[in-house]
């Protein structure tokens, strides 16, 4: 791997702020960010990335690799939980295996946004339709996770209590993050098509503030990820190994699919990141509702305490090096 890529990634403000948050916990600093602020910044990031994706989607149009890429992204979000579940069942019960598998089938929007920022610093073009892939990869894994529980643990679960399919589908497709992301994508698309003069008024909010907001949010993520490190010990070596090796395996599948689809290097990196990342926003909340038997410290700690830092520190430059090697540049 090109070491300059690692350094260029490590020395960007978002990643440095992430480290600052991690170090704050490790050295016992009393740095604390009030709970509503990270939520506000996470909503802002989803709104901004959705809006920008909608604009770019309108400009690029829905043709060429758009539909096959989105279809491949959805297929991956269905397939990853299935084979992850088979691996996880070696050590975990059905409930925990299904919850962790769903977590790895879904995606991390912040990892995706960090990868986009990395591409921008490298001046590598990427397309807006990848945001549509991001939005559509959030939900299928939740459904697969629940189906796995139903099939694998059905008999052990006589009282499903208040869990109903309607509520599950509602949670999967209308949870706040998916709703805001898809809604902002549609608004961006419609604005670019019908009201281009409004774009200039939105850009100071969705564009100029974006990098700073990402850095601030990653400062909080550093704190939360470091707090989760203690729980990782409870998760055990099997899950720790899974949370690094499974993203790498998924990224390898991702680059093979990206190459087959003829994606550009920027889009190929984003596709790999989507395949390799794990959800800690939409899926944990859905799993809490649908599979309360599963231990949240397994699926949150692995996704947030290890896979997320791994992807933003090592994964993104590693995947970029692979893209540079295996994905041909246009022209």
């Amino acid at each position: 791997m090109d070491s300059s890529l690692v350094l260029q990634n490590l020395l960007t403000p978002p990643v440095l702020f992430f480290f600052l948050g991690v170090v704050a916990v490790l050295v016992g600093s009393d740095l604390e960010i009030p709970a509503p602020l990270p939520k506000l910044f996470s909503l802002y990031l989803l709104l901004a990335i959705g809006f920008k994706g909608g604009l770019e989607l309108q400009h690029s149009g829905i043709s060429g690799p758009v539909v096959p890429t989105i279809a491949a992204a959805i297929a991956m979000s269905l397939a990853v939980p299935l084979y992850s579940f088979v691996v996880l069942r070696v050590k975990l019960d059905s409930f925990n295996a299904a919850a962790v598998a769903a977590t790895y089938g879904s995606i991390s929007a912040v990892t995706f946004i960090t990868a986009e920022s990395f591409l921008d610093t490298q001046n590598i073009h990427h397309d807006g339709f990848m945001v549509a892939a991001l939005a559509l990869m959030e939900s299928p894994a939740i459904i697969i996770g629940l189906l796995l529980v139903k099939l694998a643990a059905g008999q052990k679960r006589p009282d499903e209590g208040p869990m109903r399919w309607g509520a599950v589908l509602h949670e999967a497709f209308l949870n706040g993050s998916v709703y805001l992301l898809v809604g902002s994508l549609v608004i961006g698309f419609l604005t670019a098509a019908n009201s281009p003069h409004s774009l200039e008024k939105m850009l100071p909010f969705t564009d100029k503030l974006f990098y700073g907001a990402l850095s601030f949010f990653l400062l909080d993520m550093g704190i939360v990820a470091a707090q989760r490190l203690r729980d990782l010990r409870r998760a055990g070596t099997f899950l720790i190994g899974f949370s690094v090796l499974m993203p790498l395996f998924n990224a390898m599948l991702g680059i093979a699919i990206a190459r087959a689809l003829g994606l550009s290097p920027g889009d190929a990196l984003l596709f790999m990141v989507l395949c390799a990342s794990a959800s800690y926003i939409a899926v944990p909340a859905a799993m809490r509702m649908t599979v309360p038997e599963a231990n949240p410290s397994y699926y949150i700690s692995t996704a947030l305490g290890l896979t997320f830092p791994f992807n933003i520190i090592v994964g993104i430059p590693l995947y970029m090096a692979l893209v540079n090697r295996f994905i041909p540049t246009a022209g």
């Binding site: 709970a35 509503p36 990270p38 939520k39 910044f41 996470s42 009282d159 499903e160 209590g161 208040p162 869990m163 949870n175 706040g176 993050s177 909080d220 704190i223 939360v224 707090q227 729980d231 409870r234 800690y280 926003i281 939409a282 944990p284 909340a285 809490r288 509702m289 309360p292 231990n295 949240p296 410290s297 949150i300």
Partner: protein, 93 residues
């Protein structure tokens, strides 16, 4: 007069309050952002951005017949999602 104390995840709060209403309770008090430690480790507001917030403390003052209905309505929720609920005697001032 009885006092019922419930500690539940904020995420299930709506369902819990609905069950309390359906039991015929005259009212309730809700304290959100409750942190502490549970069977799965510490409960904090750190994951609030994901919709997995802290806990809520719900206090209900009611007559004994309502307690029976509360037990009936809340037991499935507590069995499914977890949480604690205790009943004690209460003396009006």
């Amino acid at each position: 007069m009885k006092r019922v104390d419930l500690i539940v995840s904020e995420r299930e709060l709506d369902a819990v309050l609905k069950a309390i209403d359906q039991a015929g309770s005259p009212g309730y008090t809700v304290m959100k952002h409750v942190t502490g430690k549970g069977p799965h480790g510490s409960v904090s507001e750190a994951m609030d951005f994901s919709g997995l917030g802290a806990n809520a403390h719900v206090v209900v003052f009611c007559e004994p017949p309502v307690v029976d209905k509360l037990r009936e309505g809340l037991a499935p929720l507590l069995n499914y999602y977890g949480g604690v609920a205790y009943v004690s005697d209460a003396q009006p001032l």
